[in-house]
């Protein structure tokens, strides 16, 4: 049996995983990164439009700061987010972006003087300040008060990931490519690493570690059409779930991005609309102002996706052999702008649609895009229930997005959570609690168990075809656990998924019997795991009888702050179970800095909790009193909801901006 010992095992080589790796290395600890693909090919590379950080350099970002970013994030989350975590995040985002600039990301910069932009379908002139010249600029994104999304053209994730991976090279981080973690090694409530399968040789390797971090991204591929890379299958969430100890949070919170191209579901960035692009229906009519007069195309993603679906249901969609779609018009931005700032979009349109987006409209419709849910952790990134297991980035639910994530907050989250979690893990490694106390015989048992499961898949007879089960699962998720949900469909989804899950125990890998690289074998064990994840999503959605953020129930259209201001916690305590176990975690209104209110979209359908009003009065009184005493915004914030002491010391400092803290 091959065993590799390390201080920190990091599963996943995208932005979040690599940032954890370089962080713990800097603190003097060893790290091994396991990754399915070369890190530079991770799904982080596909993030196009940008990273939110409240630098406030460009004229349209003037007045921005952590407070505004925080308020946007909480509203966006439909008050589902953990406000302390959101505070930690918005405080650290400027630090993370400056760090990335230092490591080589060629962020697009402010150019002083006049420039033309398109706002609300009109040409306007923006004058950039002399003193901002050469600092990092930002574009507009949905659901934000200020232009806050920093970018490199529309290849932001690519540039960030390349800089991050190069930094990992510099720091000599050990990266084990084409290795897939297939189960976690754990004993007595403590995680000790993972069993991994080498995808080239088929060999099983036990990675034994003091701390283990899952940074494997989201689980979009449980849907048949998703903007996600094909490796985003939720295997990280599944292996956590399969411990029976670790829990998942808010798995039903799934984001649909308004503008993926039809039919293949490849993303065109929110930057298209941020830069002035419009959504049009079959008559070429701009319909969003009718639904959302204030934010129009730049309402929050969940809202725009629902409005588009509603509009198509009214018969206003464009008919095509792949179903109805709408148009994204960026021709008004002009060729020069598209070729400079939206070049990935242009390439995608040319290669996959055969059109020139500077001349023609792009066929789009809302498509699965992001997983707000994930491995439930404390603010430190550590599982609430399995010691030594950490998670960050899209894989985790720590929980800064609640029920809807703002565009530009995801790549930002990867690097911010990575830099923070690296510090908390390092603290843990430097404590006596972190010693390895697992017997080698136990490690061997874990490896042996996986070996047996793989053998069974290869030697089963008259079993099930994994592809059949998987395709059916993907269809069910699309049809019954989509943008709009209802009790009847969700019940059917849960029942059928449960049946598919039971059938998946009897999967047989037909014909392709190699124990080495074997795509059919991989599909077989991944399908079993994906079905568990799909069940968590569908079951959580069925039980949540309200509408919040991206979880929209036609039979329960209200956001119910009386009964549902809580997180869904999902676990799988017994291997023989055929459904996950669901419990809930209350979200405490009384400690909120920003008590629940109206998000400002459509009609206000909130069932209010009386505590919200009470807390709002408290908050208002504190603000009024402290303002009268001449306190600054930091002191007032501290009085409302302290968070700074939770941050690692090195990240507690105030951020400099033009005219503030310089």
């Amino acid at each position: 049996m091959k065993v590799v010992y390390t201080d920190v095992l990091i599963i996943g080589g995208g932005l979040a995983g690599l940032r954890v790796a370089t962080g713990v290395k800097e603190r003097g600890h060893d790290a091994v990164v396991l990754t399915l693909v070369p890190p530079k090919r991770s799904h982080s590379a596909a993030a196009q439009g940008g990273m939110q950080a409240s630098l406030a350099n460009s004229t349209m970002g003037e007045g921005d700061n952590e407070d505004v970013h925080f308020a946007d994030t909480i509203k966006g989350s439909d008050w589902g987010a953990d406000q302390v975590v959101a505070r930690m995040f918005t405080h650290c985002a400027p630090k993370a972006i400056r760090e990335l600039a230092h490591w080589g990301v060629p962020w697009t910069r402010v150019k002083k003087g006049d420039r033309t932009a398109i706002i609300n379908a009109k040409k306007v002139t923006i004058t950039e300040k002399e003193e901002a010249h050469g600092l990092i600029t930002a574009r507009d994104f949905g659901g934000t008060k200020k232009w806050r999304t920093c970018y490199t053209s529309d290849g932001t994730g690519h540039s960030m990931l390349f800089a991050m991976d190069n930094k990992a090279h510099e720091d000599k981080v050990e990266i084990h490519e084409r290795l897939e973690a297939i189960s976690l090694i754990h004993e007595n409530g403590r995680c000790f690493g993972a069993v991994a399968r080498n995808l080239m040789s088929g060999e099983l390797v036990a990675y034994v570690s003091k701390a283990t971090t899952i940074a494997t991204g989201g689980y979009g591929r449980i849907y048949s059409v998703s903007t996600n890379a094909i490796i985003c299958q939720g295997i990280g969430q599944a292996i956590a779930l399969e411990t029976g100890v670790a829990t998942l949070g808010n798995m039903e919170a799934i984001q649909f991005h308004p503008t993926a191209i039809v039919p293949v579901g490849i993303l065109t960035t929110e930057g298209c609309r941020g830069d002035g692009g419009l959504l049009l229906d079959k008559d070429g009519y701009r319909f969003m102002p009718d639904y959302e007069p204030e934010k129009k195309e730049l309402a929050s993603r969940d809202v725009v996706s629902r409005r588009m679906t509603e509009h198509m249901r009214k018969g206003k969609g464009v008919k095509s052999r792949y179903g109805d779609h709408l148009w994204l018009d960026i021709t008004i931005l002009g060729r020069e702008h598209i070729e400079k700032n939206l070049r990935e979009v242009k390439e995608i349109c040319e290669n996959f649609l055969g059109i020139d987006p500077a001349e023609e409209w792009i066929p789009v419709r809302p498509t699965q895009h992001y997983s707000m849910g994930g491995i439930r952790t404390k603010y430190t990134g550590e599982s609430q229930t399995l010691k030594g297991l950490y998670s960050c980035g899209e894989a985790a639910c720590w929980d800064m997005h609640g029920f809807n994530r703002l565009g530009g907050n995801s790549v930002s989250e990867t690097v911010v959570s990575g830099m923070l979690v690296a510090e908390y893990i390092s603290d843990y490694l430097e404590s006596d609690e972190s010693h390895l106390t697992i017997h080698s015989a136990v490690i061997e048992q874990f490896v042996h168990k996986e070996q047996e499961k793989l053998e069974a898949l290869l030697t089963n007879e008259n079993g099930e075809d994994a592809y059949v089960l998987r395709r059916r699962m993907e269809e069910i998720m699309m049809e019954k656990v989509g943008i709009f949900r209802n009790g009847k469909d969700l019940k059917e989804a849960v029942d059928e998924l449960e049946e598919l899950y039971m059938r998946s125990k009897n999967i047989e890998v037909f014909r392709s019997k190699s124990r080495a690289a074997n795509p059919a074998l991989e599909n077989a064990y991944r399908t079993q795991k994906m079905l568990k994840v799909a069940l968590c999503v569908a079951y959580g959605a069925l039980e949540r009888t309200e509408s919040r953020g991206a979880h929209s129930r036609e039979d329960y259209p209200e956001r119910d702050d009386v009964n549902w201001l809580k997180r869904t916690i999902t676990s799988w305590p017994n291997e023989e179970d055929t459904l996950p176990t669901i419990t809930y975690e209350q979200i405490d209104i009384e400690s909120m800095e920003m008590p629940p209110g109206f998000r400002g979209y459509g009609k206000d359908l909130t069932i209010r909790n009386e505590k919200s009003q009470k807390r709002q009065e408290e908050v208002d009184a504190i603000i009024q009193k402290l303002q009268a005493e001449g306190k600054d915004r930091f002191e007032i914030q501290e009085a409302l909801m302290p968070f700074r002491d939770k941050l690692p010391k090195k990240y507690q400092g105030k951020n400099a901006r033009l005219g503030e803290n310089v």
């Binding site: 530079k40 230092h102 060629p106 490519e177 293949v264 996959f352 190699s514 690289a517 400092g653």
Partner: protein, 246 residues
Amino acid sequence: MSEQKNRILKISILRFDPHDPDDVPHMETFEVEEAPGMTLFVVLNEIREHHDNSLKFDFVCRAGICGSCSMLVNGRPTLACRTLTKKLDEHITLAPLPLFELIGDLSVYTGKWMRGLNERLETWIHDKANELNVDALEERMEPELADEIYELDRCVECGCCVAGCGTIQMRENFVGAVGLNKVARYHLDPRDKRSDEEYYELIGDEDGVFGCMTLLGCEDVCPKDLPLQSKIAYMRRLMLKTALKN
């Protein structure tokens, strides 16, 4: 409008499983009915799902962004995911990217090669003297310069330029256009404090910029249309100047 009858594509794939002692490299042909908007990503998955589930290939983003799926399509290196079948004849030949370690069928180990290259050329910002203060304003950069750096930063390490390179066929340690472009990118970046002499140490020989025979297959096949020709020429002039100066 009557639907046109779809073509039946004949996909010939060079197959070999290095883990199977009985296997030898051989061509295998599959027939797939073409569908509108079909890409090689769709074709290969269809073959795996309905014809032969042991077929090995690599896709990740399937959107032309991540560089995983480069292979020889009718003999030419390119990204398979964004290759539309309608642009090809009905008989399509697919082979793994040459020069890289073969994992099986169309799957090659580009990651290992690229990591070796990045380590060798130290493709990161060298600036030990400048300690970052994460609280302070970022260093300024001219907007045009940032754009120029991004232009070169767009390389996705797909390996097409390496597969299309004449020099590397004879000189296996040649850094390739991917390597020279990376050096050009860091040379352009004022945040990297390496001197011309230090760059000369990295690429001032025949495995570097003086090895290039300017056949420029690299530029022809680069899926990101990087200005490889002009950057190689520029680095060559610069390295020559550096050599003469010293």
